[in-house]
Amino acid sequence: MADETRTIKTDYLARVEGEGGMLIRLKGNEIEEVKLNIFEPPRFFEAFLRGRYFTEAPDITARICGICPVAYQMAACNSMESVCGVKVEGQLKALRRLLYCGEWIESHALHVYMLHAPDFLGYPSAIEIAKDAPEVVETALRLKKIGNHIMTVVGGREIHPINVKVGGFYKAPSKAELEAMVPDLEWALETSLETVKWANTLDFPDFEMDYEFAALDAGGVYPIEGGERFVSNRGLDIPIDEFYEHVVEEHVKHANALQGHMKERDSYLTGPLARYALWYDLLSPEARGAAEGIGLPKVVKNPFKSILVRSVELVEACAEALRLIREYEQPAEASIEVVPKAGAACGASEAPRGTLCHRYELDDKGIILDATITPPTAQNQPQIEADLRGFVGQFMDLSNEELTLRCEQAIRNYDPCISCATHFLTLEIERT
């Protein structure tokens, strides 16, 4: 072989694309690998919280997620208050719950109608639904708006509310301001009852998983703004302060989001399915009635039916908001005094998409020495991958395109709070 050869300089750069993505590697009919990539560039919240003053945590951590800022604010407050040995109770606690109901209504309405439903209805998005069935989208928007309105009245604005403070609020709304929302909320309650029925008309793939469901135990009420214990249907029952003794976070190479899993246990699931399964009996009569009305069992194991459970929780949030407003008395002080103390504690809350845990360590001046934050999506990610593994097995013969759609839908079952996960850009299916 004496071919003439030549070397050509190219200096060509091939880029590694950085978007959310998912990889499924199939070998014949075997699933070799399922990987969910979350290319959320790291933002280092836990690092830069160090050195900040403890009262800043609710405002700063809200910025972790614009879709569920209240969840972060509440977990931060719960944790800080626990470190400092104070408890926010009575009407202030009720106001927090009301604010959070606003976030649930907003987030669940957005997710049910605008993110998840298009998958079931075969539309790329709600924008296209709006062309064919504007009333569906209008309903969604009005529901969303009512949720947002609660956040505006109680929290100052819908995204990154400004009225939340360690110890309570900066200013408590008057009873009249809250009562003004009642007619809208009554409409929202009616509509969410309809939503449950409407969601029940969708087609669900036959698919069940045997989950370990985990959620907060809020001591006799459906868990929303906080809870003292973290429990599961498989016997986990720990004070929230021991969260990190049982849950470890792992940084896996393919995702910048940390993944959580329980020591000596498998993956577990937080979020609507878990809350519902664990605390069905604590739902309001309206929400329970809605579930019964469509024959929804007390434990739902089909993740695709999370849209039903989310709708039931929408009913719950509306009914609960109405109850809280009815029972509201404007507190004399908008917050209780919180004097910083050296120490460390966990605090958690139930984001629309699952349990969110914060842990802070403070010095005696109130400066944050250490912060750990575990969002629900991080906890759910191993479970999502596990689901997908099970799920792909059933749908292996679909075309790549259809399989992609199905997988996206499956991921959306979990309402992950990252935009790259709400709509995937790249899904690679390798078949060999």
Binding site: T5, I8, T10, Y12, K253
Partner: protein, 88 residues
Amino acid sequence: MHEQATIRDLVATVLHVAEENDAKRVVRIKVKLGALSHFTPEHFEEHWVDVAAGTIAEGCKVEAELSEDLTDPNAHGVILEDVEIALG
């Protein structure tokens, strides 16, 4: 997961270069793997062999060098430095 896409892109580029120069075969390629590219030389070669199979780049020699410079603006990418082709 993006290794595949990157390599496909590189193979396409190499074939394009080869074609433009009327090459019969690609003899050797030289690449610099960015420190953050997620590749090791072995890893890269493995993928390369996969993707280049069935093209005129099949069986070519792969010289892959791993850069350790994290601050390089191209640290996330793979640079195809040169391509050696056989003519005629």
